[in-house]
Amino acid sequence: MKGLELVKLIDLSRCTACRGCQIACKQWNNLPASKTNNFGSYQNPPDLQWNTWTLIRFQEIEGQNNKVKWLFRKDGCMHCTDAACIKVCPTQALYHTEFGSVAVDYDRCIGCKACITACPFDVPRYDSVTNKIYKCDLCYSRLKANQPPACVQSCPTGALQIGAKDEMIAKAYKRAQELGDGATVYGDKYVDGTHVIYVLPQKAAVYEKLPDRPEVPAPILVWKDVLKPLGLIATGGVIGAAIVHYVTHGPKAPIEDNSNDQGGAV
């Protein structure tokens, strides 16, 4: 994997929702469990959390002839090329690795939550105890050691794969064509291409919490391309963060606290 721009391919037609990936992620990244309740779903924790970087979302839909389909979607960071979180981060805590993935330098994170507001996929989560944001870094520590991410390693069905960007994209299109019946590829056409690509057996719009046309929010473009070059953050991250917060505080409010004790309460 060394020296390659990587893409993780998630083929949802092969996912059985065993959730091995969800657990393996916690194991590799030393993320504690939260106390949860069954809220009438197999999905748990109910959402991504500072300590849950990937999550299988469960969804029931009625297809043709009243046949029920149970959809599973592995949610987590999409590792955008045009990454809003990186653009908006005042301290460069978020950055692109040599693999094209988006990693976090926790020493630099000041907990400003700008990335939470900016992310078109609603991925980063804030922990009030450490005052930092957390998210998947595509197991940067493993990639550097030439090992696949923990989720890919744990997947028993081949629903998760990782490899060179072009090869994975080609594989995705081939698989979607094989599946037919409205199957699509998701990810390569948005935000200059994500480094996580889905093969979706259904149309993207069918999946909950998956934006149909994700893009970097307009105000961020203002910040990144107009204000940031003016050197307004010269005095350090604090003022920068304040400006970012001001610029990006649109209709979507950041989640104030997604810490341990709140997770999963229903």
């Binding site: 969800q22 469990a33 949860t36 009438g40 779903s41």
Partner: protein, 736 residues
């Protein structure tokens, strides 16, 4: 499906004629009438199987009609038996639409083409019924009709679970067998000669290999492995030291707790099990446990069985049972063999040391048995021989249990030098004392060989190399056989009865997927099921199903307890008052226990919903995974899956707490309202089905208000195996 296959002539004709007993002639005394086969005794509830036979000629060879036209032949009897199962009847009884049934029938029936394969993979969904074995039996008939046994991609495949189900069955965790599926002795078989005589099958047909004619070689080698040097011909190799099972009695887990409830059981060793959660009718189980004087549990966490004395409704002051909990360790903390669904025995290595005082099963057993042996040596006792004569040297240099030593004893070795000279061929085979026996064809009945489990003979080669450790990835067949990866019993054969994949001349039915082929004077491909030539060779050829006395697959299967053909019976508790086809609603051969806890409520308005049970992916069996925070986070508490329609009728919202009750007990859980459950019509009546996982109990997680799903289930099961009916019973649901 059987009727559809016959009506549409989808059978693999040559296979059915020559490789099954479809052409055999059934005894004229055999009959089937109104849900009962001939020979049923109404008082005992058991069958006398004397009429479930097929005819033999004066020479003792089965009479056959290869045209399959004789009205008394198995094929015609089969056709007649399943005539009642029309599409309308099956759809009405099962609630599956005719359209869906036909889709499955067509797809599966198409595998009757000689070059097509169909496989049946099943698990507890089929076995957890009072007709569990008959469910599998029914599919076996289908597989034989379609020629799907003994071929690449065929077979009846039980999906064995992580608890090493295949391995533990091979090594006789069940009460009715000895290792290698040898039969358990009974008091009516007083001598080894009587025992061997009874279980050594006979055949007068020269074309039948009748492999079980070798039975004494395996039983004697087993005794040599258990008792070592003390097993001598003079002592019948220690046969009389083996425990005996009373004739006609069963000792399943359900029988055990039924007897325990009467106070007749003093002590109970509960090893790696959580019976207070896993065994049906948990109230009965938990009451029975209170009758014990002592109980020893071996587990990796505390559980509802080990702590039954402080369970819901139990006052510890009133319980006299002395309880011990010994810390064991799971598979990753010990090495040993594991067998999977394909009988592939793979060596697994220790990944971590057990924490604290925890020990492997082997070490715990060694320590307990050492104490017992010391006591017997000191005090004597009623029957000290079985204990003191036991071969008991499975320790390494450090005094710890040695799994390799134990595995080697299971595999087998020569107990003395055995030299076999063949003057005609001019060959001389030298086998030295202590060398491993390279396969069960080399085992002997004279005490010159020892093997703890004849099926495992060959897991070590003669030089002592552990073949279960092999990891060869070459596969010249291209079929995924991987003959150099670990070891599959028997004899490293990957597909048993593989000679049935070829025609009478030994040519593969599917030339594109050659599992085996007779080339020149030998079989090429998988390890052949015996080296004899194919059947076209009238002099030396053999039938393919070599473990069957007649050498063929049993379309007519008299080995079953409740009939040689499968028949539909309703569950012990169901929504129907009557059987749709006969006056016998349930399996006639079922054993009904008589305790105060054994209650049934069939077609009872008080318990109107069909309930089924299963496991959540995130939890292991009775849920010792509940102690693992990540798994508990993912699947935190008990739930019941309910259709939107039924939830509407009950006024339930998704996520609300409910109480679920049967005539035997009740528990609480979360209602999961789902589109995946839908009502269906059975005999014109709307039936609501609900489903619950069985992974939860009162002990953990802390503060849980819920308890075991098996508080609801009945102690009744399949009369062949006593596998409980966890998959169908009746409940009521109310808001908690």
């Amino acid at each position: 499906m059987i009727k559809y296959i016959i009506d549409n002539n989808l059978i693999h004709e040559e296979y059915v004629k020559y490789y099954t007993n479809a052409s055999f002639i059934v005894s004229p005394d055999f009959s089937f009438n109104d849900g009962l086969f001939s020979g049923f005794n109404q008082e005992t509830g058991k069958y006398n199987k004397a009429t479930w036979t097929t005819m033999k000629d004066e020479a003792g060879i089965p009479v056959r009609d290869y045209t399959l036209q004789d009205p008394q032949c198995v094929y015609q009897m089969l056709k007649k038996h399943y005539e009642r199962y029309s599409l309308d009847v099956v759809s009405s009884v099962t609630g599956v639409s005719k359209e869906d049934l036909l889709t499955v029938y067509k797809a599966y029936g198409a595998t009757g083409a000689p070059d097509k394969a169909g496989t049946e993979c099943y698990a507890l969904g089929w076995t957890h019924h009072t007709v569990g074995s008959q469910n599998i039996r029914c599919m076996s008939i289908i597989q034989l009709l379609l020629g799907n046994m003994g071929i690449a991609g065929g077979g009846i495949n039980a999906l064995r679970g992580e608890p090493n189900v295949q391995g533990s069955t091979d090594h006789a965790i069940l009460y009715n067998i000895l290792p290698g599926y040898l039969k358990m002795p009974t008091p009516s078989l007083q001598t080894l000669a009587e025992y061997n005589e009874k279980y050594t099958t006979k055949s007068s047909d020269p074309m039948s290999a009748n492999w079980y004619q070798n039975y004494p070689k395996y039983s004697v080698s087993f005794l040599k492995a258990v008792f070592g040097e003390t097993a001598t011909p003079e002592d019948e190799f220690g046969y009389s030291w083996l425990p005996k099972m009373e004739d006609g009695k069963a000792y399943s887990i359900m029988h055990l707790f039924d007897v325990m409830l009467t106070g007749k059981v003093e002590g109970f060793v509960c090893w790696a099990a959580n019976c207070a959660v896993s065994t049906p009718n948990s109230n009965k189980v938990r009451n029975a446990l209170q009758k014990l004087k002592w109980m020893v549990n071996v587990n990796i966490f505390d559980n509802e069985t080990a702590s039954f004395w402080k369970g819901p409704g139990v006052n510890p002051a009133n319980v006299d049972t002395e309880c011990f909990l010994l810390p064991g360790c799971p598979t990753i903390e010990k090495q040993g063999s594991q067998a999977n669904s394909g009988r592939l025995i793979q060596w697994a290595y220790q990944a971590a040391n057990p924490p604290g005082d925890a020990l492997s099963d082997g070490d715990i057993m060694m320590r307990i048995m050492d104490e017992i042996r010391a006591l017997y040596a000191k005090e004597g006792g009623a029957s000290p021989e079985p204990i003191l004569n036991l071969k008991w040297d499975y320790r390494d240099a450090q005094g710890k249990f040695d799994a390799v030593k134990c595995a080697r004893q299971i595999a087998g070795h020569y107990t003395k030098d055995v030299i076999i000279e063949d003057a005609v061929k001019g060959t001389k085979e030298v086998n030295l004392k202590g060398e491993n026996v390279p396969g069960f064809p080399k085992l002997m009945a004279d005490g010159s060989t020892s093997s703890g489990n004849w099926l495992c003979a060959g897991t070590f080669d003669q030089k002592g190399v552990n073949l279960m450790q092999r990891r060869g990835k070459d596969d010249p067949t291209g079929l995924g056989l991987y003959l150099n990866w670990a070891y599959a019993w028997p004899m490293n054969r990957r597909v048993i009865y593989n000679r049935a994949s070829c025609d009478l001349n030994g040519k593969p039915y599917n030339p594109k997927r050659k599992l085996l082929e007779w080339v020149g004077d030998k079989w090429v491909g998988d390890v052949a099921d015996g080296g004899w030539p194919p059947m076209a060779n009238k002099e030396k050829g053999k039938y393919p199903f070599i473990m069957k006395a007649d050498g063929v697959g049993s379309v007519f299967g008299p080995g079953m307890v409740e009939g040689p053909f499968s028949e539909h019976y309703e569950p012990m508790e169901g929504p129907l008052e009557k059987h749709p086809l006969s006056s016998r609603r349930t399996n006639p051969a079922v054993t009904i226990f008589k305790s105060e806890f054994d209650k049934f409520a069939n077609a009872d308005a008080k318990f109107p919903y069909v309930c089924t049970t299963y496991s959540a992916t995130e939890h292991w069996c009775t849920g010792f995974t509940r102690w693992q925070p990540w798994l508990l986070e993912a699947m935190p508490e008990a739930y019941i899956e309910i259709s939107e329609k039924l939830a509407g009728e009950l006024g339930l919202k998704n996520g609300e707490r409910v109480k679920v009750s049967s005539v035997r007990g009740s528990t609480t859980c979360v209602a999961m309202v789902t589109k995946r459950m839908t009502p269906f019509k059975v005999e014109g009546k709307t039936v609501h089905e609900v489903g619950m996982p069985f992974n939860y109990g009162w002990l953990w997680p802390e503060g849980t208000k819920d308890d075991a799903t098996n508080l609801l289930t009945p102690s009744v099961g399949c009369p062949n195996t006593f596998c409980p009916e966890f998959k169908a019973f009746m409940v009521n649901i109310t808001k908690a």
